[in-house]
Amino acid sequence: MDKIKICHLYHDVLNLYGDTGNVITMKKRLEWRGFETEVTDLSFGEFDLSSKYDIIFIGGGQDFEQGILTEDLFKYKSGWLKEQIENGTVVLAICGGYQMLGNYYITDKGENIKFLGAVDIYTKASSPRMIGNIVYSTELNGKSPVAAFENHSGKTYLGKGVSPLGKVVKGFGNNGEDGTEGARYKNVFATYGHGPLLPKNPVLCDSILLTALKAHGVSDLSELDDRVENAALENALGLYG
């Protein structure tokens, strides 16, 4: 079987809240099941446009780098990334990475910043920041809700062809208004959940991995000993659920 290829997009800029833990977790859970896995860090500048990956991961970052980031996105990567999404590549996008996939961002001064436009969502600056532990339900995490941490000032609204990733149980979610959290479009999984998201939500991690592995003819995953992961999930739900 071919190597499972994970792309960590803008790994050196969108690296603010330990989101790289998601990449570590996906890689380990694949390797523990015997899949050879390769992680490629893809940052600014030109790259091979014929590159194909099983999973593209995009994390959250700080505002300082946002300008140079969108510049690079439109110069080198927007066409490629949209094509990957349309073709069904699995994309996991967190917080800033999530917002970036949408149509635009309206700043607190009313400026409209154009984003990728790959997923029909938009984000609007708001105040105060939505910070804290978040719990949301999604069938992708099995019987248990997801425990994570959110920290965003933008409120995100979903368009018609986009469904939420989950329903907010505790916390703000997309906008603190409509009870939705995150977005699902094709094989895009987008969320405000840091924590990082996947390490203590192993069922959700496996759901995402399985979506990517289908292209390799894999239809189910062997069980792993998740006692440590589940203990962390239960603890977080006990504290904040």
Binding site: T20, G67, I68, A231
Partner: protein, 464 residues
């Protein structure tokens, strides 16, 4: 001192006395009371004292401790606040402790640890006084509080603006910190830095300042030490590291509790030993050295003082819980934790157990995701080489489970994990092993755990 401020001081001292009688070592309440009565009391109290403020993300407490070691060894008197009391209330509180009932403070120096966000509230009262400000470094810290590193930089700038005549002591190797020399109008500034990079320095992946603060081009480095610290330069706009006035030229040997180094002061070389553990503490020793120079000590005195520095509360503090003892190590953010990981990777053997403790209270950072920016993988590789059947990794704190997950994914053997959230039984378990244990704890775990240790062994008393 006016009547209002004198009365305020009395009220504050009275509050402190009551707290003392109640057996509560609280540090901020007397300050709160005093400030309520007289908001500008600090300026009145500090009028005849030379002030040294230490701010920055990491190393504030150790640097203050090193400075007080140095100035007291040279016959000066001082007052100081200390960890946990580094906001305005705490600073006012420590002045009041030192003040007479009539509000006079007879000390040569005030050595003040200043929280980055509180610096401006503190320096506001120091206009026109003899002030030195040390900025140790700027890293990501408790993101849920400050947002991002540029916010921290901005807060420090605001603090410096109140004291335009202050002498600045800046970390040359930190591109964020050294940018202060240009962004503020201060004429007197001195840089300290490490001229030799370290092998195995942290990867730039976890860098908190990848892109030039002036033109947003990626920095290049001639050499690097930790995170984004090093001999940086920007090819595009020419922004680059300043030549340090005091520097480490060479590290001859790292020992568990010190480092043998060649230091230079204004171009002159000296061999000495800096008696602080861990490579990261070299910066804190240098910061103290530069303060020594700015207060007028000669080179030889500064160099010999380096051999007599001691560590403060919770910073590699040795406690005789077992025959071999245990070491308390405080961790607050990824950069500091990575430095501890480097230390453990260099010094941990199969005969050492490690306790990791994590809370998510506001003083620890309510978002625990930062532990994923810590390179446990590096330690895991080392542990795999040296471990034995006896070695145990203990976990505690409200979010101890999250640490267990982090270490599992870093490659640690989960069979060696042991989670216990009850500090008392955990202490008994560790005591019964008789083994040496490194105890790596976040802030509020440290405070509570140390108190429980105090029920079993005698602890050094610290102002905190």
């Amino acid at each position: 001192m006016g009547i209002r401020s004198a009365f305020a001081v009395m009220a504050g001292k009275f509050t402190a006395k009551i707290l003392h009688i109640l057996g509560r070592g609280a540090t901020s309440l007397p300050g709160v009371v005093t400030l309520k009565i007289c908001p500008d009391v600090l300026g009145a109290l500090a009028k005849n004292i030379k002030v040294i403020c230490v701010t920055g993300t990491n190393g504030k407490t150790t640097t203050c401790h090193a400075i007080t070691d140095m100035i007291s060894a040279n016959g000066y008197t001082f007052l100081t606040n200390g960890a946990g009391a580094n906001m305005l209330n705490g600073v006012v509180g420590c002045f009041m402790d030192a003040a007479t009932v009539t509000g006079k403070v007879r000390r040569d120096y005030a050595v003040l640890e200043c929280d980055e966000a509180s610096l401006k509230n503190i320096t506001k009262s120091f206009k026109g006084l003899d002030v030195t400000v040390v900025v140790t470094n700027i890293f990501r810290d408790q993101l849920d509080r400050y947002g991002e590193v540029l916010t921290t930089l901005d807060l420090i700038q605001k603090g410096l603006a109140f004291v335009p005549d202050a002498t600045l002591c800046l970390n040359a190797d930190c591109s964020l910190t050294s940018s202060l020399a240009e962004s503020v109008k201060h004429k007197k500034h001195y840089f300290f830095g490490i001229n030799c990079g370290f092998e195995n320095s942290s990867s730039t992946d976890i860098s908190d300042a990848v892109y030039c603060i002036k033109c947003k081009t990626k920095y290049k480095y001639h050499s690097s030490t930790f995170g984004h610290l090093g001999d940086f330069y920007c090819e595009n706009c020419g922004y680059h590291r300043q030549k340090p006035y005091i520097a480490i030229e060479q590290v001859k040997a790292f020992k568990p509790a010190s480092a043998e180094v060649t230091m230079s002061i204004d171009g002159k070389s000296y061999d000495t030993e800096i008696t602080l553990p861990g490579a990261y503490n070299l910066y804190n020793g240098l910061a103290a050295a530069i303060v020594g120079k700015t207060i007028g000590l000669d080179d030889e005195t500064v160099i010999s003082s380096m051999k007599k520095l001691t560590t403060p509360f919770g910073r590699m503090e040795h406690i005789p819980l077992t025959d071999k003892g245990v070491e308390l190590i405080l961790v607050k953010n990824p950069a500091g934790f990575n430095e501890v990981i480097s230390f453990l990777t260099a010094h941990c053997t199969g005969e050492d157990d490690i306790l990791f403790g994590l809370n998510d209270n506001s003083a620890d950072g309510t978002d625990v995701s930062w532990i994923w920016d810590v390179e446990f993988e590096k330690l895991s590789v080392r542990i795999a080489e040296i471990t034995n059947d006896k070695q145990t990794f203990f976990f505690t704190g409200k979010r101890g489970e999250d640490l267990q997950v982090r270490l599992k994914y870093a490659g640690f053997d989960t069979e060696k994990f042991r989670l216990d959230k009850d500090y008392r039984t955990l202490i008994q378990t560790i005591k019964s092993t008789g083994r040496h244990t490194y105890m790596v704890l976040s802030y509020t775990v440290m405070l509570a755990f140390r108190d429980k240790l105090g029920e079993v062994v005698e602890l050094k008393k610290y102002a905190r």
